[in-house]
Every structure is written in structure tokens, then in C-alpha cells.
Symmetry: C2
Subunit: 356 residues, 2 copies
Amino acid sequence: MGTLFRENIERMAGYTPGEQPSSGASIVKLNTNENPYPPSPKVAEALKNFDPAGLRLYPDPMGSEFRAAASMEHGVDLENVIVGNGSDDILTIATRCFVPEGGKMACPSPSYTLYRTLAAIQGAACVEIPLAADFSLPDDFAEQAEGASLLMLPRPNAPTGTAFAKDAVKRLCARFNGVVLIDEAYVEFADDNCLDLALECGNVVVGRTLSKSHSLAGLRLGYAIASNEIVSGMMKVKDSYNVNAISQRLGAVALGDSEWLAKNIARVRESRAKLISGLLALGFDVPESHANFVLASPPDGDAQRIYMRLRDEGVLVRWFDEERVRNYIRVTVGTANEIDFLLEALTRLVPQGERK
Amino acid sequence: MGTLFRENIERMAGYTPGEQPSSGASIVKLNTNENPYPPSPKVAEALKNFDPAGLRLYPDPMGSEFRAAASMEHGVDLENVIVGNGSDDILTIATRCFVPEGGKMACPSPSYTLYRTLAAIQGAACVEIPLAADFSLPDDFAEQAEGASLLMLPRPNAPTGTAFAKDAVKRLCARFNGVVLIDEAYVEFADDNCLDLALECGNVVVGRTLSKSHSLAGLRLGYAIASNEIVSGMMKVKDSYNVNAISQRLGAVALGDSEWLAKNIARVRESRAKLISGLLALGFDVPESHANFVLASPPDGDAQRIYMRLRDEGVLVRWFDEERVRNYIRVTVGTANEIDFLLEALTRLVPQGERK
């Protein structure tokens, strides 16, 4: 019966998300870049006050309440905002808008492996452009991306945690002929963002999510900011009811609580500094992180061993069997206690002689 | 900048969902086939008990709790169930799995106009096969569908409310070379269903939703039942986190409360009978409805006038400017009071001389 599927679907493997242990398990979970702190108390309040009787009605297809909150937060027009069922939905919508079957998407390598999966589902090629040794954009990136109709550009990048220089990104957007989707899933943990490019350049979409910064991965809520023209085209591909009524409500409330956001971001950045200095002391190689996770290579480069041994000790981190990052583990920035627990385990796992 | 989009996206119009008046408006809303009764009290309870702190974590990508509930409810294996962000998500996943760009989807006409939109997004043709005068399947339906790789077959059909004879559907599934998606969005209001075909035939997917029957349109929760092979292929195209944590939890609870479902279905069927007899008494032509809505043509055939006048009187019904159904309004089965209100308004709008 295999022939029922399109050939590209038949051939491809699905995307493998990070492990989600059953909620009963006692585990330090530092593998899927979740925020260690709960969402805003105002979100909890809004959830408590949500009238279940209202669920019998379809949600607002435009997501107006959420769009208004995002528009207020970022000082853009309502028409510059489109809501997604998580920012992965935004990536899917963009792929379906801009990449034909048999066409080309481009992305840096290493980066978020979902881009590759989205191209495969579309039946398109994914041109993976190698980053420089320090994970920065090579000078000829635009040339290498030529012929692609969509460029996925995560900033900060995952799984490296690094952020491409903003002026290099700006030049790239000007030189690239297709659409550039700047995937800012982690941007709230960084020092700057590219929102201005979404409004200045006619070919730029900036993707955002409430999963990490607002501790709402379970709610599935993302959005994109782009020109009116791009947003109204993407609206044709967006499922009318892609975001449910509860997520729309809670998401609007979460975006409005910038005080809680700032407090949480500060806590995560503080733990990140602590994690990085601990890893460096143990002799790990650590690229500069602008995200809520850290990429780290052990002194002997055997990251798979560290990943497995941490697992045995009840700490889940992520290891990718992928070129360029095979020697690294990716560690989500957890609470201060979780970082202590991890660093203690690593102290036992990394031979003293190998430390710097 | 128009050329940034794929040509098929540039050319198409988006899907137009039924109007969602702002919640403050005092309106009798019989336009989008929502259930007039609230969801199960157990759903309300589960919502109240949902721990907002858990929202910081990603939801289960497999939807295991919900799959288990569906598997229990329908007596199928877990591997026969895939969850969707509403059953529209299931329709999208199937389109992306089975219909290549430049390929063909088939569906009856008139039927759910979203099928046409999904084919357009995919860059595929949509072969709309005219139903017989009584909205049944014409004998040569399979021949007309030939060459399509996916056939969307809503049963009960929308917007007609009619149900194709099951033996005709079974023969069609056996004769059609591609995948048949039997869209059972309204099946709980009908006398029988086609779940057995999903398990017996290797090319059948049955789509379900909790939007109508379980009063959970606002939650976005649908699912499909099919062979292990089809489900595991569709899993590759499904977004890993397509259904949020709250919807998974509440959906599982809703599916488990079959008592509430039965009670609600009985109430809707009772109101449907009342609505139909009222419409017939006013001289409307009413095809036999197996859904939670009724298609009805006024004596003079001027359905648009009725639609507009009802709107003036604060009653929203649906009117489609589409061949074959232009002379009909589609009325969602509301509460007994809403039906009374509608029938009173219609009594004023339909000249006495025209009534049967």
C-alpha cells in the first residue's frame, strides 16, 4: 500500500522531537529548551476564569485579541501580525506559501533540523549552507542560497545558541531574492532582535513563540511579524481555526505581562552565566550563547558518552547525531538547582586530568 | 512583491469561515454548526483542575492520553488513531500526504468548500463531481474520480446534511485507486458510520471531530482512524506538537463521557425534527438531514433574501453563493427556543400564499 503516499513522504523520515518523559518520572529535564519557571500568574488567573461553556463556539479565526496584544507589545499594526499554532505552524505556513514542490529552501547548517523536514514534506530540496568554524555566516552565504525561494534563518541559532551579526543578517536580507524567515524563537534571551527588518524589508518574516520566553510550550502559540502583503498572503494558507480559544486568551494575557517576562529572562540569563562558567571550568568548549540553552563539547569530544551517562544519572540533555555538532551536548538552562545538579554530575564524568 | 508567493497561492482566495460575531452581540447564531449546549461538566471540571505550571512543558507529541481514549471508545488499536488540531488539520495532513503539486484531489459537489481551498494551497486540481438531484452519489462517481489520489467524502455531507448510502460508499472505496477520506465531522448526529471501512479497507481514513458532537469547537480537536500503515505515514507530516496540552487533556475527558454525548445528541435530534417540520409547514424544501444542521429552500427559492432578512432580525444562518445550493439556507440546529425564534421570524418572511 506504500504507493498511496506521495513519493517524498514515503521516502522521508519524520522529525524526531526531544524526549518527553512521562510526567511521573523524576528527571532533571534539560533537553527541549523549556523555561524552568511557570508562566505568568496572570495566565494562571485567566485559565481559572476561562468559561468552559464558551468552548462550544469556534475561536476567532483572525486571533484578534492576541494580534492586538502583539501589535501593542511591538508597536506594529494589527495587519503585520499572524498567529500560529506554535511558531512551527508559522514555519509550515511559510514553507507552503513560498516553496513549490521541486523547489528549494535554504538554511544554515547546523541549525534547527525541522527545516529539513518541512522541505521534505513539501517535496522540495533543502540547501544546507555550512556555517563558518565559529558558527557565523560565511561571506558567500547569499550566493550559496541563490535559487532558493525561502531562507530559514534562526537567530539566535539552534542548536548552537550563537547569534549571527545583525549587520550581516541585514545585508543578507537585501541580497537574497526570496523570502527570509528570521526565526526568533529564542530572541528574548538575546541582546537584540531583527523586528525592524520585518518592517523595513519587503521580503522578511520574523517568527516568534511564547513557548520558551513565556513558559507556554504546552499552549502552542507562536506568531509572525511581516509586511501587510506577506501577512495577508500567509493568511490564505493558515488554517482558519489554527489557534484554539484558550490559547488565544492566555497568550494575549501572557504578552501583556512584560514585567513577569523580564524577571524570568533575567533569572535564565543569570543561570546561563553560571552554567557556562561551570562548563568552562570543566574544560568544555562553549560557543557564546544568546539563547536559553548552551552548546558544550567535553574535553575529549565524546559528547555521546556524556549524554548517555547523564541519562543514567537522571539528567536529560540533547545530543544530535549530526555533522558539526556530534561532539557537543545541548543543555537547556534550568533552575539554579538543576544547574548545580548537572555540574556535579559532570564533575564526576569528566576526568580531572582533562580539565583546563 | 507578489512574485514572492507560489503562483497557486498568489492566485487563490482564502477559505471564508462562517461569521463569528463579537461575543457581546445579541444574536441567534445558527451559522457555523456549533452545538447549542455546553461541553460535558467533566470537561469543565478538568479545565478547572488543569495545572497552569505544566504549560511550561511541551505537550505529548503522540497525544497518547487522547489516543487511548479514542482507542477505548471505538475499540481500535492506539496505532489506528492520529490526533489533529481540529479535523481540518486531519484534512490538511491527508492532502499533504497524498496529493502532489500538479496532482488531483476529488470531492462531491456540493460539499465542504474547504476541500477546494486545500487543493489550491497544494497547487493541485480539485475535481468536483456533481451529486445526483437528490444529493446522492451518481453511479459513475468512481469513474469521475479516477486519476485523483485523494477523495474527500463527507458523510453526512455538508452543506446538504444528507448521508450517502453506506453500501454505495463501500463500493466506491473498493473501486477507487487512491485514498478515501470519509469526513465524519457530523456523524454522531446520523444513524450509522463508516468506522468499519477504515479498518477493513487499506485505503480509507475516517476523520472525526469533537467540535460539533462534543461542543468543543473552541478547543480544536479532531482525529482520524485508519490502518497502522496510513497512520504512521500521516504521523510524518503531522506537526509534532499540533495539539496543545489542555486540548489533549479535555478531549480525552470529553470522549470518555459518552453519557453526556448521548443526551446532547438526543436533544439536538429532537430539535432537528421540530425545525424540519416547521420548515416543511412553511413550504420549504428540506433534504433529509443526518447532521446538526438543515438545508432548506424557501418556496420562492430566494434564499439570499431570507438570509439577509433573518440577519436584520438578529438570526445568523449560512447562505452559500454556490451552484446547486444558492436557493437554500443552511440552518444549524439550535436550542428549542432558538428554533422557535427562527420559525417565528420565517413565518413573517414567507408569504402565506406560498406555503404548502
